[in-house]
């Protein structure tokens, strides 16, 4: 199902980008711990939380009136800059290693060597899965290293971090499948990437709306980003059963669609 040659090629081409992103993710999560550990910065964060409009708090899934170190650290895992990095990986990888192969016609060389053709899709998908796993590991490493270095008293317990990164990995695996499917639909890399980014942006904005706008709250189960809520995991409000079922279903459906469509389509 996987082409080790193709996997090696993708890994080699990303040998500088992926470690750089991992370093960024590590540093980002560590920064959150450092902010909490510094009394001056913590006071600033607490003051900011105190005056934060309720809508913002809802958007961030912050519960209660007080400031919680666990919630603050968990929010780091779902900050838009981290979401951007984690979302951009599948968009860029599927765009380059699936759609661009068709755009540049190099698929004509690959398709007579890779059998079945779906191995190209599976390999690209697997690379992104591995990249996500490494990025989440780096984020976890950042939190743990920060907590160990600063001896933070109200940090995130390791068990909670594992839950957060496993739910994140499942969520971004579903995203990976969707973006991989989108990449098989197009012959133009720019178009495939634009559709991928556009879809994720709309999904993100939709999630913000259903969180902030009370009348639309009943739609929250239909929001894709609703299924990645690290702060809810900390608050004990995350519905693991439904989340796992929904994300597993999305992953299987879109990955299956990508494999079937790519195997049958004209190159």
């Amino acid at each position: 199902m996987i082409s080790h040659q193709q996997f090696k090629r993708i890994f080699k081409s990303q040998r500088y980008v992926l470690p750089l992103l991992m370093l960024l993710a590590f540093a980002w999560q560590m920064l959150y711990v450092v902010i909490l550990s510094s009394s001056a910065m913590r006071k600033l964060a607490e003051a900011y939380f105190a005056i934060m409009p309720p809508a913002f708090k809802k958007f961030m899934s912050i519960m209660g009136s007080g400031f919680s170190g666990e919630q603050f650290l968990a929010f780091g895992y779902t900050h838009p800059s981290m979401l951007f990095i984690l979302s951009f990986v599948p968009v860029a990888i599927a765009g380059r290693f699936i759609t661009a192969e068709m755009e540049g016609r190099s698929i004509e060389l690959l398709a007579i060597r890779l059998f079945p053709r779906s191995r190209l899709v599976m390999t690209t998908w697997l690379y992104t899965f591995v990249a996500h796993a490494l990025l989440f590991s780096a984020m976890m490493g950042g939190t743990l290293a920060g907590q160990a270095a600063t001896a933070l008293s109200d940090g995130l317990p390791a068990a909670l971090i594992v839950k957060i990164i496993l739910s994140g990995l499942l969520f971004f695996t579903a995203i990976n499948s969707m973006i991989t499917f989108a990449a098989t639909l197009f012959d133009n890399r720019g178009k495939a990437m634009a559709w991928g980014i556009g879809f994720l942006l709309i999904a993100f904005i939709f999630d913000a709306l259903v969180k902030v706008w009370e009348q639309a709250a009943f739609l929250k189960n239909y929001s894709l980003f609703h299924w990645y809520q690290p702060v809810d995991i900390v608050n004990g409000k995350y519905d693991y059963g439904v989340a796992i079922a929904v994300l597993a279903l999305l992953t299987l459906f879109f990955l299956g669609a990508a494999v079937v469509h790519f195997s049958r389509r004209d190159m």
């Binding site: 060389l109 007579i112 049958r264």
Partner: protein, 303 residues
Amino acid sequence: MSSVAAIQCRRLSKKYGSFTAVKQINLQVPSASIFGYLGANGAGKTTTIRMILNLQKPTEGTVSLFGRPQEAFGAIAPRIGVVPGEVRLYEDMTGLETLDYFQSFLEGPPLLRARLAEALKMSSSDLTKKVRAYSQGMKQKLLLIQAMQHDPDLLILDEPSERLDPLIQMRLYELLADFKSRGKTVFFSSHNLPEVERICDHIGIIKDGELIVQDEIETLKKKLPRTIRVTFRREMPAGELEKSGLNFTVLSPRQADLHIRGSFEEVWPRLCKMPLSNMDMPESPLESFFMDYYRNGTQGGMA
């Protein structure tokens, strides 16, 4: 040498919406031959090749390679080498990495790589450069080595001599002739008739998606009317030309085009009796046949 056709297409058609790119093609490429697939741009050459390579599904018809149906393409593919029409190579790889990459999908070593690199003048320092630094000609040479390095039984080349300089083109023709002499088959698309005439032993001509001719080149040439431009030592009255019983078109008092059908031996004794100064063939019979097709869509009086 196998008697099974290397490529056999039966009633092969491809439609894109209401546009028919390839219409009911029956193509047979004999093993151990060089088959020139000729047609103008947009005639349907590349679409045919893509269907043969299982890259596009035919709307109708079947393709078999070495007698095996397209469902078995995975098993046959290692015996095939391909140079696609307009392919963008991976610019972040060196030439050598590109060759290794495509070879890595196959079992066994790249038997012919060194010989091909030498014949096509790709030095080892060229191969260690990134593909992004290559000229168009070098990229084409790299594609050719990639296609032939594993010594395939069937080579499918889409306009392979494009972007090659004349010296390298000659080298390519020698390599293809060598492939054929070793019982391999070459399927070669081109819009360059002199090239096809020079290296191919079989020809197929496609126009507007239809295969209008398919034959051995020598057989086709014999069937075609030929024109020889004859210059006389003196002025020839029209009556004298008529008396010869040959089919002349007078161009000037001392020059005429002689149209020949069938064997040249029948014409030659009568021609020798005339005061000849020079004989010239302005267009090869194949060329005039091809051009007639493309200008008028007629068979140009093929016998």
